[in-house]
Subunit: 286 residues, 2 copies
Amino acid sequence: MTATKRATTVLHTRAELRAALQGTERPLGLVPTMGWLHEGHRTLMARARAENATTIATIFVNPRQFNEAADYQRYPRNEARDLAICADEAIDFVFAPAVEEIYPPGFDTTVSVGAVARPLEGAARPGHFEGVATVVAILFELIGADRSYFGQKDAQQVLVIRQMARDLAIPTEVIACPTVRQPDGLALSSRNVHLAPDERAAAPVLRRALLAGRARWESGERSAAAVREAMWEVLTAEPLAIPAYVSVADGRTLTELDRVIDDDPALLSLAVRFGATRLIDNEPLP
Amino acid sequence: MTATKRATTVLHTRAELRAALQGTERPLGLVPTMGWLHEGHRTLMARARAENATTIATIFVNPRQFNEAADYQRYPRNEARDLAICADEAIDFVFAPAVEEIYPPGFDTTVSVGAVARPLEGAARPGHFEGVATVVAILFELIGADRSYFGQKDAQQVLVIRQMARDLAIPTEVIACPTVRQPDGLALSSRNVHLAPDERAAAPVLRRALLAGRARWESGERSAAAVREAMWEVLTAEPLAIPAYVSVADGRTLTELDRVIDDDPALLSLAVRFGATRLIDNEPLP
């Protein structure tokens, strides 16, 4: 884990990327990000560094995965700070392309994943996962990494990307890393910066709701409706929280469950708005 | 063009393909086919052989690009004959996978191209080009060829595949080769085998209509409507021909034209049914 610090090289174009990666030592580990890096990203980078001879992070706020233009505009950006964090994490290369470098003029192709992309975030944010699958397919192709690292906080995103890479025969392995949290349980997210102080104080309700669902299950309850109810009760007790959905789904297909069977992986997940800021979190079972 | 004959190796699985391609001499040239090989495919293979150190052909009747199940079922197949042709053309490797080898259980990803895939064949055959773009993305990824060879007879297919490969940053070059024809002008197609004798005798009307359009243009006519009219007149004079469309479009975007400007590439194209058999052909201008 304590790699020798090497200088971080920042790349802006495909040509620079191609030249830089030629002949680098393998395996190559990739951490794709939208910037505004936090401790969660640092965990991904540390794992990538530990498991690979060479590491690369990407910083690209992908316009195609924002279903609302305003959300894209207000997404927080600070490239200088992000590059300093990558250097501090001893990442070898940072690819920070302009939008036209990923989507050249006339770009007109979409990669879409079926069933697993449809519920939850897919239903709430039309076009979101097409944007994700498309940009990740391009980044995987451009970079040719052996392994890629994503946060488990975006659980559905991990499933969508894994399905896409498997189906399109892209050999980059997709690795999910545990969600990193604040001491009060709030999952780290670049969007947390938008929370007003009272919203920030209320935001741990997501984690409390998920733990209430888990507790109901651990107490022997197997009805998914009862587990949802336990989560819902916690959320509705918080006046600032505007719940979007509460889900108890199959952990592989994201189909909503009737019964939570002991041996089958399940995923408790939820989305909640605080004012204009939308947060998500999840808890895998068992 | 007269390559030393080497044995052709037939591969059925991804694992066999990976093992076979490891360490082969580059550049690698790919000829993707749906089998039932004819002189047109031979021309593609000869060109691939002339331009590359190693050659591979694929034989895969792709169920996802048939918008009608009956059309998929009746598509002609003869693997033994196809393999003999590949051997005769001194192709190094033939990849002839089962459907589940390309689309494993749970497959659920679609690659779709926008504007250039929408008119003409895209409008007539819903889902067709999504099937094409998806399977070619997978084959390109599995094979990693430097160059791929397609027939200009499927002009829109060439544009769709080129757009897909460019957008997804797949480095396989897409090369279109001139249409090969029978002496009477009929473009070679695996579907020609379905024509009854009287339909076969009538089928050169596609070529005659295209040449009538070209002649009208060469005589100085620049109105696209007049060029379409010239093609239409020839088609409607043939009682067995049931025209589906007649098009005079921009050669890059396939947008229908008002005027055919001298320096801009244009594409005359048409689709015609003879009984249950649907044929297409085209003529690029200038």
